[in-house]
């Protein structure tokens, strides 16, 4: 049997305050989606594999 899904930690006391501060501070550090330059290569590979399965 696979490992159970772990509960997300409850952030108490200092850890909670630190988390809250971090969340607030990081709003000034916006982020974008991560680049995926090899995705076309992946697409070709998946299509090729799909063709093989059809044969």
């Amino acid at each position: 049997m696979a490992l159970p899904i772990q509960p997300t930690p409850i952030l108490r006391g200092k850890a909670g305050r630190r988390f809250e501060k971090k969340i607030k501070k990081d709003l000034n550090r916006p982020t974008t989606l991560v680049d995926t330059p090899r995705l076309e290569e992946a697409r070709k590979l998946v299509r090729k594999h799909g063709e093989k399965r059809q044969e």
Binding site: I5, R12, R38
Partner: protein, 182 residues
């Protein structure tokens, strides 16, 4: 373009809710525990309404074999700060953030190291930022405590909740959707 509530499509890759769990028996991502979960436990988690599993496929390929699988469940991040209620009136702070949890995620062995994993994470971020039925502020994950796995999530802008789980088998990370600009 989204087709219905149970699917999401982006750049020719589709995220589809799994209906036929027998199809997951052939899935192999090279990790024994992940394979075991998808092959044997995912259906029970769905039946118990604990998790939904989605398969990722390339839209033009007729055969719907899973390129990747991802199981999601609802989550909340509670931060019990005893002072939170003092500032409640000023800024409407809440003692928890609604979240979606990546309970399990694996990319098929033969398709790894080609950015599929990152693309799926991008899809999840977009889906829950733009097309969510309820509020969702964070994406959380319990990742195997393996340098390669953790590096993947860190590259995808996830952050550790704390160092307390540093020596545990799994580590909890989060991504704040509010930071995302798309």
């Amino acid at each position: 373009m989204r087709k219905d509530r149970n699917s999401y499509s982006d750049q020719g890759w589709e995220l589809l809710k799994v209906n036929d769990y027998d199809r997951l028996k052939e899935f192999d991502c090279g990790n024994v525990d992940l394979n075991d979960f998808f092959r044997n436990d995912a259906l029970a988690h769905k039946t118990e309404l604990l998790c939904e599993t989605y398969l990722v496929r390339e839209a033009t390929v007729k055969d719907e074999f899973p390129v990747a699988l991802i199981s999601l469940c609802n989550d909340a991040v509670r931060h019990e700060n005893v002072w939170w209620w003092l500032s409640l009136h000023a800024t409407k702070k809440y003692p928890s953030y609604p979240a979606v949890k990546i309970a399990r995620f694996g990319v098929g062995s033969r398709f790894q190291r080609r950015n599929i994993g990152t693309h799926v994470i991008n899809m999840i971020k977009k889906l829950f930022l733009t097309d969510n039925r309820t509020g969702c502020r964070l994406v959380t994950v319990d990742a195997y405590n393996d340098p390669e796995v953790l590096d993947f999530y860190l590259k995808n802008e996830f952050q550790f909740f704390s160092d307390k789980d540093k020596s545990k088998r799994q580590r909890s990370l989060f991504f704040d959707l509010k930071r995302l600009q798309i």
